[in-house]
């Protein structure tokens, strides 16, 4: 069992947790992920590492409540535990001094882009960060991103905060400015955002790294459910990734595979909400 030692509510649907897992924290690096399983009936959920504290043996995860498992996880409080916590999995980000780089974080993808931006900054890069979300409520860690970036651009789809635009717009402007000499781009967020980031950087021929979060079970190369098509064949996100060259990814195949269990996800959520309502009603009745 792995104890939740801290919880922060970043928005209605975005939660942060520090989880006690020294065996993961001792080796964790930016770009890697963990697999968490809430209880004996739980599924194995891959989440990218948002931060770590080796001395305290802590791993920070940030997740958006989108389905049954993330909703259930979001209900846990400090002092509660999760049944399994495995990692660090996947390859860490390849960090060196590239010169000027852009880090793009969309939605909950702001969490995993943060340690990457930090390490890139520490390695001497000029870091320009772009973070975006649908609206102001879904934004978080602006201060932390600011602290590790030479320049930070914030945007929202609805204009409730920062620029009213999608992340690819400022990205194109920066890439179009030849003075800036952008050497590399990192992008983490919804698959559709990463697809468009890759499409935006392609004409400029700037190497673009994306971090994929596909359907997976074990996270150690055993199931192959996470496989992604690159232009030279299939790869496993869990052991060959999670970071890939965004220009090589077959995005349509990826997006289609992400949809495969949508109906089951809906059923699981519906059953869970129903159960929660019954429990809520029972608790009401008992008062």
């Amino acid at each position: 069992m792995y104890k939740i030692v801290r919880k922060e509510i970043l928005s209605d649907v975005t939660k942060l947790m520090d989880i006690e897992a020294p065996h993961v924290a001792r080796k964790a690096r930016a770009g890697q992920f963990i697999i968490v399983r809430i209880d004996e009936h739980g599924e194995r959920i891959p989440l990218t590492i948002a931060d770590y504290n080796r001395d305290a043996g802590l791993i920070t995860i940030i997740f958006q409540e989108v389905g049954k498992s993330t909703k259930q996880l979001g209900k846990l409080e400090p002092g509660d535990s999760v049944a399994s916590f495995a990692g660090p999995l996947g390859h860490p980000t390849d960090v060196e001094n590239f010169g000027a780089v852009v880090c793009v974080g969309g939605g909950v993808g702001i969490a995993p882009i943060y340690p990457i931006a930090r390490e890139l900054k520490e390695a001497g890069n000029t870091v320009i960060s772009i973070v975006g979300a649908r609206n102001r409520d879904l934004l978080f860690w602006e201060d932390k991103m600011k602290a590790v970036s030479d320049e930070l651009i914030v945007c929202t789809d609805d204009g409730s905060y920062g620029r009213k635009t999608v992340v690819t717009e400022p990205l194109k402007e920066i890439l179009g400015d030849a003075q800036r000499k952008i050497a590399r781009v990192w992008a983490i967020g919804p698959a559709i955002m990463m697809k468009f980031v890759a499409a935006a950087t392609k004409p400029f021929q700037v190497p673009t790294t994306v971090s994929l979060n596909t359907i997976m079970i074990d996270g150690t190369g055993m199931c192959g459910g996470c496989r992604v098509l690159l232009d030279d064949g299939a790869r496993f996100v869990c052991v060959d990734g999670p970071e890939f060259d965004g220009h090589k990814v077959d995005w349509d195949n990826l997006l289609s595979r992400l949809q495969f269990y949508r109906e089951e996800e809906r059923i699981a959520l519906q059953e869970y909400d129903h159960k929660c309502r019954l429990e809520g009603a029972a608790a009401e009745g008992g008062k």
Binding site: H23, S69, A86, D218, M222, C223, V239, S256, A268, E271
Partner: protein
């Protein structure tokens, strides 16, 4: 029973094991083979001729003292039978269910020459189940040696090795990457063939007796590397199996509805997807399922498919659908255990033999629509000694399918080789290790089971774990230093 003559023993017919009804069992995940009653077991045990030079033992990868345990069993001395069993086999309830006895102990039985072998596997299962329930003969730990051993992987090889080393008084820590121990016994082999209660029972019993520590969620190669383990432990045994699935290099492999058997079986067995949404992990199964391959994993996958289809039909009405085995060789070459092949036939699996997929065809949504195959014929024997299947020109055809499961074998997971300087690998990705001792090319590191042989059987992995444990023990005692 009075002492029988050899002639009388030979007149007794081999006893069938009762099975769950073949129609009923298609709709559930409960165990198919129901086991002998004590009465049947004792009469079956009377068939053993107690050969002076028993060949059955030679056929067993761990050398179970078969005539001895059978004799005790027929004399009604169950405690003694368990004791004899445990001299060589720590996990009899598992072996009795999953060993390919027909090519091992029973294949060597003298009675098999003229008629039917003693049902050694079924008797072993009977003794194993008795002990799981009664716990008459706990494993005993020798006085502590102060030596520490890390065992990586908690499947059959690792478990056997850990238990044998624990019995010798060494302090054993096991590392498992998944959330529970058992390896292929829990993620691969289905409930209806090997109930998870039996696996957990065997493991917890042995582990409690010997004070073995199991660290789950520990991915060696990531959380800790092999080199790090070597600085903490006197010896390391690698029993990480062959977990990496192979996919065919054909068009359409990344369509929705194409899965590795590993993914499918892990969802169903480890994550209990057949009980979704009570358990969170779902599995999607179509009305028309093709499982490509002919081994035990293929049989397990196709039989799980049938059951899922039946459960789905029960919930939603309608026909359950069909499940196929698509295998490029003929029935004679099917590598699966005879009983599994037989059970699959009984349950209504459709066998498309001498058939090989050439393309998976998708619809406009990116989901599997059909499997395009070519008919095969058997040519000259290949390296494996089996006749090589060759395509018949112009024989291509399509089968409508919505799920395709690839059961084409697996190779060792490369993660364990991360930061493991000096640990040699073959070009197939397997670890180089001595077959007798399990010693690898890296000092103080042993390996055994599928990580060395590539995908094989539970019992051969147990055999390798056992031989390695013996050598590790000699090494730790200073009797067999590393050359």
């Amino acid at each position: 029973m009075a002492e029988l003559t050899q002639k009388e023993r030979m007149k007794i017919k081999r006893h069938d094991m009762p099975n769950q009804d073949q129609v009923v069992r298609r709709g559930n995940f409960e165990e198919v083979a129901l086991g002998y009653t004590e009465q049947t077991a004792r009469v079956e045990a009377e068939r053993c001729l107690q050969c002076k030079e028993p060949k059955c033992i030679k056929g067993c990868p761990v050398g179970v003292l078969i005539p001895q345990f059978i004799k005790a069993l027929r004399e009604g001395d169950m405690v003694k039978a368990v004791e004899w069993m445990k001299v060589k086999n720590n996990l009899p309830a598992i072996c009795g269910r999953v060993c390919p006895q027909e090519v091992q102990c029973e294949g060597n039985c003298i009675l098999a020459k003229k008629g039917e072998a003693v049902a050694i596997g079924r008797l072993e299962r009977f003794v194993g189940d008795y002990e799981l329930a009664e716990r008459t003969c706990p494993l005993v730990k020798a006085p502590k040696t102060g030596k520490r051993v890390a065992v990586v992987g908690t499947g059959p090889a690792g478990l056997t090795c850990a238990v044998d080393l624990g019995r010798q008084g060494h302090e054993v820590t096991m590392f498992e990457s998944l959330h529970g121990p058992g390896g292929v016994l829990v993620y691969g082999i289905p409930e209806f063939r090997l109930p998870k209660g039996v696996v957990h029972g065997e493991i917890s019993y042995a582990v409690e007796c010997l004070g073995i520590d199991i660290k789950t969620d520990h991915v060696i190669g990531r959380s800790f590397t092999l080199d790090e383990l070597l600085s903490d432990y006197d010896a390391v045994f690698l029993g990480t199996g062959a977990g990496l699935p192979s996919f065919m290099r054909i068009q359409g492999i990344n369509l929705n509805g194409v899965m590795s058997a590993n993914e499918f079986l892990t969802r169903v067995n480890l994550m209990k997807a057949y009980r979704f949404p009570e358990f969170d992990t779902p599995v999607k199964i179509g009305k028309k399922v093709a499982v490509v391959g002919g081994g035990n994993v293929a049989m397990d996958s196709v039989r799980c498919s049938l059951r899922l289809q039946a459960l789905l039909a029960k919930q939603s009405g309608g026909e359950p659908g069909e499940a196929h085995i698509v295998y490029r060789r003929s029935a004679d070459e099917i590598p699966a255990r005879a009983e599994e092949y037989h059970h699959a036939q009984e349950e209504g699996v459709i066998f498309d033999l001498l058939t090989n997929p050439v393309e998976i065809i998708g619809d406009e949504k990116g989901c599997v629509k059909a499997l395009r195959c070519v008919k095969m014929q058997l040519g000259e024997p290949d390296a494996s000694g089996r006749r090589k299947p060759v395509p018949i020109p112009g024989s291509e055809f399509e089968m409508e399918m919505d799920t395709v499961i690839m059961a084409l074998g697996t190779s060792p997971n490369p993660l364990v080789f991360v930061d493991a300087t000096g640990l040699e690998r073959t070009k197939h990705g397997t670890a180089v290790a001595d077959t007798e001792t399990g010693r690898t090319k890296k000092q103080r590191v042993w390996a055994g089971g599928d990580i060395v042989t590539g995908a094989a059987t539970v019992i051969s992995a147990m055999g390798a774990g056992k031989r390695a444990a013996a050598d590790i023990n000699s090494f730790l005692k200073g009797e067999a230093p590393w050359a």
